[in-house]
Symmetry: C2
Subunit: 223 residues, 2 copies
Amino acid sequence: MATRGRPGPRRTLSEDEILDAALVLLDEGGPAAASIRGIAAKVGVAPNAVYTYFPDKGAVVRALVEKLLGEADAGEFADEGKPWRDRVEALAVELRRRLVAHPGAAALLMSGPMDGPRATALNERLLDLLIGAGVEPADAARATYLLIVYVLGAIALEVADETGPGPLPPEDDRVARRRAGFAQIPAEVFPRSAAAAPTMSRYITTDQYLWGLHRLLDGIDPT
Amino acid sequence: MATRGRPGPRRTLSEDEILDAALVLLDEGGPAAASIRGIAAKVGVAPNAVYTYFPDKGAVVRALVEKLLGEADAGEFADEGKPWRDRVEALAVELRRRLVAHPGAAALLMSGPMDGPRATALNERLLDLLIGAGVEPADAARATYLLIVYVLGAIALEVADETGPGPLPPEDDRVARRRAGFAQIPAEVFPRSAAAAPTMSRYITTDQYLWGLHRLLDGIDPT
DNA sequence: ACCTGAACACCGTTCAAGT
DNA sequence: ACCTGAACACCGTTCAAGT
């Protein structure tokens, strides 16, 4: 559906260039840096030129979240030859890997409804996989949502732990910093938590993430 | 530890008054309304007077989240006579009820690390409960985190679904609105999702929330 | 110690104008 | 159609001053 009328002087930008600029700013400087004015400066136009491509800032954020979700929706979990648990695990790991690479953007994940086409595609993939595994369709729908809540919740909590801008430090460093924090818990007031501090400091690791995922799959497993 | 020197002209405010004002603004006008300037106007001081009580806006938000978490950490789930599953359920329901009553504030839940005293108290309570139920301490720590991820993730996704300011409409209305939205899913592209639309529209209900919680408890249950 | 007025360096967004 | 300059109504935060 080509629009009528003259094509205009030129189209110096594209939606994707704007989203890429927003993501880079988010990665480098955190949420404050990803302003409309910052994005415009990054791509070399006046601030209000952005409004030619997106109606408002919320639309930019929504499009960025969608784009990130879409990029994660691919990979080995599509291999129908593998056991369904392995495929779910592959998807969960891939989603986490991609989103944690952009902590500033990942923090925006749950800032709006998940109703875009990419989110629906993710839902569809998981639904299909679970039904293929023998889960009753109605239960598969609920289980899909449960999985999405867990995966996105775990990722959101993980990146929420990181304060400033810049990329996420290596897992080991983050665990060490948490351990130092948990060491401050007063054992007189919170004896259980103080005793569990070594375990708690590993919450943000891949193995805790997978442990949780499998406890959840245990509750879903139709066999 | 009383501070030395003269007491000052007067202390017209308290931390709690500021947090209450912030919560009311958040409830009525959404995140944009809960500005430092808005809060100051609401409590009748100049904008910068707020900085006598909190070092910056982030501290106000963190304190508000902590306060909300603390308020939810109470109730019947403390009854040690009841089965542990019922107690976890009571806590989960209470947390959701209280947080969903303030959707604007609930959206801030995962915007920072959960390391305050109220969050630790919640952790302690759950840990104690699970260990009392016979779960191995190391597993209990992991299970506690799993439960927190699920509960907060589900609540965050639920309130993310609501766009504007004002209180959350009744559950029935929200379900109806979602059903209308899901009805738009193209069945040719997403056959599974389109077929599951009636189930999906109920994701934000109490029974789906509890269903997910119990699938998760099934994976944790030591018996 | 606590509060105020004024200012600084930002925002998102709109509008009229240019091509 | 697309972009610009200028402006509007906001932000969070700081500073010097008052009591």
